[in-house]
Symmetry: C2
Subunit: 432 residues, 2 copies
Amino acid sequence: MTQTVPAELDPALIKQIIAAVDAGFEEQCQLTEKVISFPSLRGQEATAQDFMAQTYRSRGLSVDHWKIDLGDIQHLPGFSPVAVSYDNAFNVVATHRPREATGRSLILNGHMDVVPTGPLDLWTKPPFHPWRDGDWLYGRGGGDMKAGLVCALSAFDALSRLGLQPAANCYFQSVTEEECTGNGALACLARGYRADAAIIPEPSDMCLVAGQLGVMWFQVKLQGRPAHVGWAGTGSNAIEASFPIIAALHELEAKWNAARHQNWADHPHPINFVVSKIEGGDWTSSVPAWCTFDMRISFYPGMKLEQVRRDIEDTVRQAAGNHPFLANNPPQVIYHGFQAEPYIVTGGEAAQATLRRSHRSVTGEDPADVSLTATTDARFFGLYAGIPALVYGPKAIDIHGFDERVSMRSMRDVTCTIALFMAQWCGVEKRN
Amino acid sequence: MTQTVPAELDPALIKQIIAAVDAGFEEQCQLTEKVISFPSLRGQEATAQDFMAQTYRSRGLSVDHWKIDLGDIQHLPGFSPVAVSYDNAFNVVATHRPREATGRSLILNGHMDVVPTGPLDLWTKPPFHPWRDGDWLYGRGGGDMKAGLVCALSAFDALSRLGLQPAANCYFQSVTEEECTGNGALACLARGYRADAAIIPEPSDMCLVAGQLGVMWFQVKLQGRPAHVGWAGTGSNAIEASFPIIAALHELEAKWNAARHQNWADHPHPINFVVSKIEGGDWTSSVPAWCTFDMRISFYPGMKLEQVRRDIEDTVRQAAGNHPFLANNPPQVIYHGFQAEPYIVTGGEAAQATLRRSHRSVTGEDPADVSLTATTDARFFGLYAGIPALVYGPKAIDIHGFDERVSMRSMRDVTCTIALFMAQWCGVEKRN
């Protein structure tokens, strides 16, 4: 599908839209703080989603609020095995339908789930009590990506403030599961949501994302031969046996970093294999009989999931082969969570040009292009539904870290850009 | 205190005592199985202790059954910081008092707590459902050391069967906390129990233990700098930061193994530093902000606890100094559980000679001398109460491992040896 770039907006309207964003900006920041205040860790985001449904409804949007059902998605391409229970996994999609659909439709997608805080004593203030300092708005999930989620709705609010609304369907998606599988976005596809373009305001420092790596989670389960520690030599330590396996996986990481994909040609270290969780042993005076570690890896466009899994398993098997106990008791590799294919944005030239133009109207400059070393839900729209999916959002620091924070100036600029994009891409009509 | 070796028993009495052990041996095995069937993990041993109290009472012994009170022991030498709650930590001491105390008194000490099973699927049969195969009696805690605990009482039962009883006080101690601190044995001292000798039938393969290493538990807590895994280089991985710390500790272990103490001169690897538990990280897509590992180490007689702790802390600090993040965020070293001093049996010549003679009467050979690479509760009696404490018990395999098992033949032989020891050391008188 080749799309033409929509007509430019009247300069006066551009000014009005930007002024309307500014007029609502304090309200937008307060809404962002309210959303951050929900501790919407995966498995605990349902109350935050209730709040979003209510927030969308208060704008007169039509709200679809449902529990993710594995039966709807587990057969679909892009599905990842469940890492965290869906007992409490709700999606919310709010739809604006114009009186006359003359423009192009748009999905504005964001995720509500946030990653764990880590030790609380390392935060300056409690992570779910947002606070401001200069340009920074602090709080877990503020950058990744509640600020962006609110930017999308605030862009719509800015048009409303001018008595306008998009002249095409707009879908405001607040999904879950982005941080472990993306099955929330997949469930939106399964439910039939489609549009001519999608924007995901993940924290991109206002760069326009050209592509993203594939991401995979796996778990390696090692056995040991337990023994009394007084005779440790008669046992095999499952914890220490994991160290050479991890080292071998890092060698594979180095190999992939050396064979750079063009989109990451200038990146110092695009591929990251990270041992992110470990657990092993039951008793301090027993040689541990088990150890399990979790790893997150990334890989380039062009690499297939199956080949990646084969490479991982070969690496683990070869390293285990050099270990006296593991050679005969090979570790198990288990896949749960992300099995996320890489994604390079294609067929999105018209949407990209519109976004660039909008960004320029706000900042006076072209947005930088970037390829992410992580994944986002953009892949679902692009790979499995043919919808060009642009990732473009605020500037944030220490996402997944302590004292996560998002730049309010960038929230304002991103909201302006999205509002201008919406007005061009969808067109506008008068509100009733 | 120099003690003289008691007179030898009449050869006819020796035969009678051995025959009396054999007569009760099936009953003894069944009692051992019954005791093994209690899943008396530390914190869950109270029902097994109830059973022991009842078993002792059924022999007419006077039973002291009490909850360990930190206030009674925490000021005493030999105390170790609590590793597992004492909410459910009960000791049982059963006392035999003769009509006329003409012989030497004896403590027979054993522990009821057992170590965790590890993954159940690696056991041939459920660990707390004891079963027999040939000479082996299987079950968690059978070897370490319920079989020995029952041997002590069965030796008393054998004398009873002959219408005899020890002519001195005998204390049958079923304690807890041996597997993590020894505070159960310490609580017996605090309660005033003393005797002229102690025997602990820990699984020693019927060797006579001459000494035991010191044992220490500690925990190292590492911080990291969390980050999104897509930009892992901006973070510091707390899990992987533990690897060089562990490696440095192993260098200290190698140094101590090289500088061999005479009692372990022929041992291939007396000193064992074992990483036995590890835990770290909260989320697979976050660089982990924390990691904690537990280590058990051992050290020679002559080494002071304080010096050992200094060596550990120096090693951790030096290794951390080479790490970009840890250099400014040094790991914490925390001591909980074993702070157990080494112990070489001294002043026990008379008791040792009596035990050797008894063993020879049963097996026709001298028992081998051995120095343990682990600790036992013997140190409390020897170091803090001047009571020579002999460790001598059955043959067991895979203690702290899977399919732990104890040789029934050795249970029988150890019971005979203890009964003969009791008859010589305490003397005998007719039962009423």
